[in-house]
């Protein structure tokens, strides 16, 4: 049935004589659902498929879907890869998998409750104490806590794979803070958006019931049932799956927080927001449990909340998964599971484990040591930053000896696992369909009664066709996973995704644009969403503030740089003396303005006047030059990524294209004109970024914070520019040139001509740039807006002794500005060389402007205080 035009795609596919073939049934014919799928697939045609591949790639990139690779300087925010061919699982096969997974989740829940409760499994010899107590995930602090709910294990996840004979095996269990569900959802959205035809004739199960139950599970955990607040705790933007944390935060409508956004007071967890403390009832954690409380757990952790264990002990906060659940991420438990299943259920395991030998037992250790080169050797605990699993067949003789020694010294820390050959599944690589090994991650969530399994999941494939180890850290592709119902329904496409509308920013536009959007399910979701007011965690507020400052700094620097470059190009054409002096004054001003010292200052600086382009080039492209454009762009980029859930899809597109332009720009030949053209592009993009945010930033408070940052930075930049250009008295032509440059760089030249219809003169320039309340570029305009923002910000009742410091400072600043006249500012000093009043006044303004951010920070971004561990006696003697 495969159309001949697909023949080229399938070249060599079947001849590769690969392991179990997902495509074929037992009778050797193509399975019916694959048949349906490939009919749609071939109908698209090779060219169209290539285009869609590109479209998918772009879609994921523009949505900011990334995965961070540890230890790789280029690895931060690596784009996510998605294969256009999904992983298909038939309904029949799925029924077995689903039952097996639910059984396993129930079993792990019982084991978890027992380990931290009665320890019957240990007492009855079903679980060796060495296997539990030696695992760093066994947290003694969590033993004996009250277990109120039926399910302590709220979330559960496994990696499963098929062997060549079609059997399904469980390879890993994830019980700590399972990742991947957000990527699975994003994959489905991308497929539904870009490849809708492929769903034709296949009844693909929806992912949404899982997320509905996830939301229910989290809210029903709370002790306080009136509008419980759920937060997602992330280690921060450097974490490998940070994209997912922010994505789920948007999708589920829960605030994304880092450890220092939270604090414990009165045995209760509080969220520090710009408006004060808000109680937290449930934490969905993506931080490994030992990092969660520096008081009782890992002492040097900066990711946790001091006192969290106390809040848990008091029953005031619930955590999913609970602290201590990392103990179950323990491949050493596998060989004991069949007996434990018998003990609890009197039934065998539905899904078999991969054969494993725990070296804590003499016989098993002997087996592992004798067969080491044919096994996969794993540690019983997983460290998320280094690989704790090795393929014995790939080790050198020397390494094998070392490993054997390690196993003999700490036998209970090691497990040997059978090396399974995975079955293959079709993948589209370049222009051919090729077989790849696949690993499927499934997701379960407690629904109080039993467990709900996501009908789909995250499939990952190896990077090469022979590669057996599949890891995001090592590259490779992901696939959407389709659970196929046997009956095919005409005209019904099950690609819609239920969605909650509130507190949404990033993905809303993209989903609503989907024609298949199902209104009914949206309505259902709406009811489930708690309607508490949106809050801005102080940490997020601080990042937004800095996004504003860096955006403006970048913009200001780019504009001034452009003005100076243009002046130099023009000046060198005419060769006038006054132009030369202007250029030199501008170059020095540029160094002062951008803080790129020494630059054009001093003796060495003077030497650069004849050919300033090398230094100007460095100001643009030298990443190590602090104050340079590349440097500032990196600061901007970091701040933007730290609050990524605040940007809309359109905003992401602008950001990505800015990043791309920047990277491309470094590789092209730089003529002076090209450099200026590049600045033009960057300025346009940055203006677009700011404009888009005004329209789409999701929380009003977020916008005011960000705009406050912008306005403060704009004020500081303006003051610096005026000080660097207009304070010294020059001859008339030079003074004229400099004033013109200032107006140009601040986009106020047109405004000046329109307003004054006169030749440029200092008092008028100063009036326009400092004192004109109607000029959106003037200092007083910025200051007035800052004043309004600061007055409207919530005032922390704890700090109320009269007016808050930042408000009184901005009031003083505003009053001083308001009382100033252009005549006063334009008075020359006695020597006639400088405008001293102007200089003093600007210096005064600068002091205010530099102090206000500190005062804001003290009130709203208090978390910046470092946390310290105290010990008693240096030593017990």
């Amino acid at each position: 049935m495969i159309a001949t035009r697909q023949a080229s795609l399938f070249q060599n596919y079947f001849s590769s004589n690969y392991s179990y073939n997902e495509l074929l049934g037992e009778d050797g014919s193509l399975r019916p659902y694959w048949q349906t799928f490939f009919e749609s697939f071939s109908h698209l045609g090779p060219e169209e498929i290539q285009e869609r591949r590109v479209a998918i790639h772009r879609f994921l990139k523009e949505n900011g879907v990334t995965y961070n690779i540890y230890g790789d300087p280029q690895g931060l925010n690596r784009p996510w890869n998605l294969d256009v061919i999904p992983f298909l699982i038939s309904k029949d096969e799925w029924t077995t998998i689903e039952n097996g997974l639910v059984q396993r989740a129930e079993l792990f829940n019982l084991i978890l409750k027992d380990i931290y409760g009665q320890q019957q499994l240990i007492k009855n010899g079903l679980l060796p104490i060495e296997l539990v107590y030696n695992h760093p995930g066994f947290l003694r602090e969590c033993a004996g806590l009250k277990q109120v709910d039926k399910h302590q294990l709220v979330l559960y996840s496994t990696d499963i794979a098929r062997s060549p004979d079609g059997k399904v095996w469980v390879l890993n269990d994830r019980t700590q803070a399972p990742s991947g569900s957000g990527y699975a959802l994003e994959n489905r959205m991308a497929m539904a958006r870009i490849m809708p035809e492929l769903f034709d004739g296949l009844k693909v199960k929806q992912l949404s019931p899982y997320f509905t139950d996830l939301r229910n599970a989290l809210t029903s955990m709370a002790t306080n049932q009136t509008q419980p607040r759920v937060v997602i705790l992330t280690p921060g933007p450097r974490n490998e799956t940070y994209f997912e944390h922010s994505y789920l935060s948007s999708y589920l409508g829960y605030t994304l927080v880092q450890g220092d956004d939270l604090m414990v007071k009165d045995n209760i967890v509080w969220l520090k927001t710009v408006g004060g403390l808000e109680r937290v009832d449930v934490i969905l954690r993506r931080v490994d449990d030992v990092y969660c409380d520096p008081l009782e757990l890992k002492e040097d952790s900066q990711l946790g909340v001091a006192g969290l264990m106390q809040a848990v002990r008091s029953g005031n906060v619930k955590i999913a998964n609970p602290l201590g659940s990392g103990i179950l991420e323990n491949p050493g438990i596998m060989p004991f599971l069949p007996a434990i299943a018998k003990y609890y259920f009197n039934k065998p395991l539905i899904l078999p484990n991969i054969a494993s030998w725990w070296c804590g037992q003499p016989k098993e250790m002997k087996y592992v040591l004798e067969n080491i080169s044919t096994l996969i050797i794993k540690k019983i605990y997983r460290d998320s930053t280094v690989s704790t699993s090795v393929d014995g067949s790939l080790l050198s003789e020397k390494r094998i000896q070392e490993l054997k020694e390690e196993i003999k010294t700490h036998p209970y820390m090691y497990v040997g696992q059978e090396r399974v050959t995975f079955s293959s599944t079709p993948s589209l690589s370049d222009k051919k369909v090729e077989p790849r090994n696949a690993l499927f991650r499934s997701f379960l969530v407690s629904n109080n009664d039993s467990y709900t399994v996501m009908k789909g999941g995250l499939t990952r494939t190896s990077s090469g066709s022979g590669n057996m180890i599949i890891s995001n850290q090592l590259g490779g592709m992901s696939k959407d996973t389709w659970i196929i119902s046997p009956e095919t329904e005409k005209g019904v496409q099950n690609t819609k995704i239920a969605f909650n509308n509130s507190l949404q920013s990033q993905s809303q536009a993209q989903i609503q644009s989907q024609s298949q959007f199902q209104l009914q399910s949206q309505q259902l979701q709406l009811d489930a969403v708690p309607s508490y007011k949106s809050v801005l965690p102080s940490h997020t507020a601080e990042n937004l503030f800095w996004v504003g400052r860096y955006a403006e700094r970048f913009l200001g620097n780019a504009r001034f740089l452009r003005t100076v470059m243009q002046a130099i190009i023009e000046g060198s054409r005419l060769q006038l003396d006054t132009d030369k002096i202007t250029d030199q004054a501008l170059l020095m001003a540029l160094t002062h303005y951008t803080f790129t010292y020494p630059g054009f200052i001093g003796e060495a600086g003077k030497a650069k006047f004849d050919n300033p382009w090398k230094e100007l080039y460095a100001m643009m492209f030298d990443a190590t030059k602090s104050g340079g454009l590349t440097y500032n762009f990196a600061l901007f980029s970091r701040a933007v990524n730290a609050v990524r859930d605040h940007w809309s899809t359109d905003t992401w597109r602008v950001l990505r294209s800015m990043e791309e332009h920047w990277i491309e720009a470094e590789n092209i030949q730089h003529t002076h004109f090209k450099m200026i053209a590049m600045l033009d592009d960057l300025i346009t993009s940055m203006v677009a970024f700011i404009g888009l945010n005004r329209e789409s930033i999701s929380r009003e408070q977020g916008w005011s914070i960000m705009d406050t940052g912008r306005k403060i930075e704009a004020s500081i930049l303006l003051v610096n520019m005026l000080r660097a250009t207009l304070v010294n008295k020059y001859e008339d032509q030079v003074a004229y040139n400099l004033q013109e440059a200032v107006l140009k760089s601040n986009e106020s030249l047109v405004n000046y001509r329109y307003k004054y219809k006169a030749h440029l003169q200092l008092p008028l320039v100063l009036e326009l740039m400092l004192l004109d309340e109607n000029n959106p570029r003037s200092l007083i305009y910025q200051v007035f807006r800052i004043k309004r923002y600061l007055e409207s910000m919530p005032h922390n009742p704890l700090n109320m002794n009269g007016l808050p410091e930042h408000v009184s400072l901005i009031n003083e600043l505003y009053d001083e500005l308001k009382g100033m006249s252009k005549e006063e500012l334009s008075k020359l000093d006695e020597s006639g060389g400088t405008y001293e009043n102007l200089d003093d006044f600007l210096a005064d303004m600068y002091t205010y402007l530099a102090t206000i951010p500190n005062a804001i920070s003290k009130t709203y971004f208090k978390h910046t205080q470092p946390q310290r561990q105290l010990f008693t006696a240096d030593k017990i003697t």
Binding site: G307, K875, I876, T877
Partner: protein
């Protein structure tokens, strides 16, 4: 014998602190031969939150938080302890003669007290087996040697081989460094003993407590001159947990008072806390142990 113990810890901060969380493990537990009749904890300034509970090892824990601005913190624990000797002489004479390898084997019999003791066999970060720990242990644990005699010998060797010298090590000094320096304080010696015993598969735990010190005859004892003390304890099948003090080369009896125990120092840190501050602080500790 009844003791009155006053243990006072004081922090002075150089800048005011607005929030601190603390965990104290300073209230002595009752155990064989020891009855904690009374123990009161006085904290200044008055904490906003106090939770008292028992930890995984059964030690008494006091958690407290001070949620208002303060510039100093003092924690004073006053306890009244009744101490008596429990004779294990007979048991030691019988079961102490068991060859240590046999004793080690017995631990794997399915008995609840043995299973419980086995949690003290694995090494911890503070008691790693590196740097010749095993070889050091094997000098005392020669093949077939009676377990009690071997442990006693180990204690004595640590006492002789290591010099008691405060100030050379800190709580963070690794055991490898102590082995190299051959210097340290009671906490280091306890860790060395524990690591040695664990390296050959025997369960050993860290005991935190006090020791009564007596002034020379005729001199009156000064207040606050005592100190916290630490030693190790070994589980011997059919005898149970038996304490050894390598700092003083004695088998603890009535002059040793136990606060609690754990796998190492970090399970039974007397007082720890987290504060929000970057400033420095000053610490002073005084302990007074006297007969009632």
């Amino acid at each position: 014998m009844t003791y009155k113990i006053v243990h006072k810890t004081e922090y002075i901060y150089f800048e005011p602190i607005s929030l601190c969380h603390n965990m104290a493990r300073l209230v002595p537990r009752s155990t064989i031969g020891q009855n904690c009749k009374k123990s009161t904890v006085v904290i200044d300034p008055m904490p906003d939150v106090i939770n008292e509970f028992e930890d995984f090892f059964g030690n008494k824990v006091t958690y407290f938080a001070i949620q208002h601005e303060h510039s100093s913190l003092s924690v004073t624990v006053s306890s009244e302890i009744e101490r008596s000797t429990v004779s294990t002489k007979e048991a030691i004479e019988t079961y102490g003669k068991t060859p240590w390898e046999d004793a080690r084997m017995q631990l794997y019999q399915p008995r609840l007290d043995y299973i419980d003791a086995r949690q003290y066999v694995p090494e911890t970060a503070a008691t790693t087996f590196e740097s010749g720990i095993t070889n050091y242990a094997l000098v005392s644990f020669t093949p077939g040697r009676a377990i009690y005699e071997a442990i006693h010998d180990l204690m004595e060797r640590i006492y002789k081989d290591f010099q008691f010298k405060p100030g050379f090590t800190t709580v963070a000094t690794p055991i490898s460094e102590v082995m190299k320096l051959r210097k340290g304080v009671c906490q280091d010696f306890a860790h060395v003993g524990i690591a040695c015993l664990r390296s050959i598969g025997l369960p050993a735990r860290y005991v935190s407590g006090y020791i009564e010190t007596l002034p020379p005859p005729g001199v009156e004892k000064l207040v606050g001159v005592d100190a916290s003390h630490a030693w190790f304890s070994v589980f011997i099948p059919n005898i149970g947990w038996k304490d050894f003090d390598p700092t003083n080369n004695v088998v603890p009896s009535e002059q040793h008072i136990t606060i609690g125990w754990g796998r190492d120092y970090f399970d039974i840190t007397p007082l720890k806390g987290v504060i929000l501050s970057s400033g420095p602080h000053r610490l002073s500790v005084s302990v007074d142990v006297r007969r009632a």
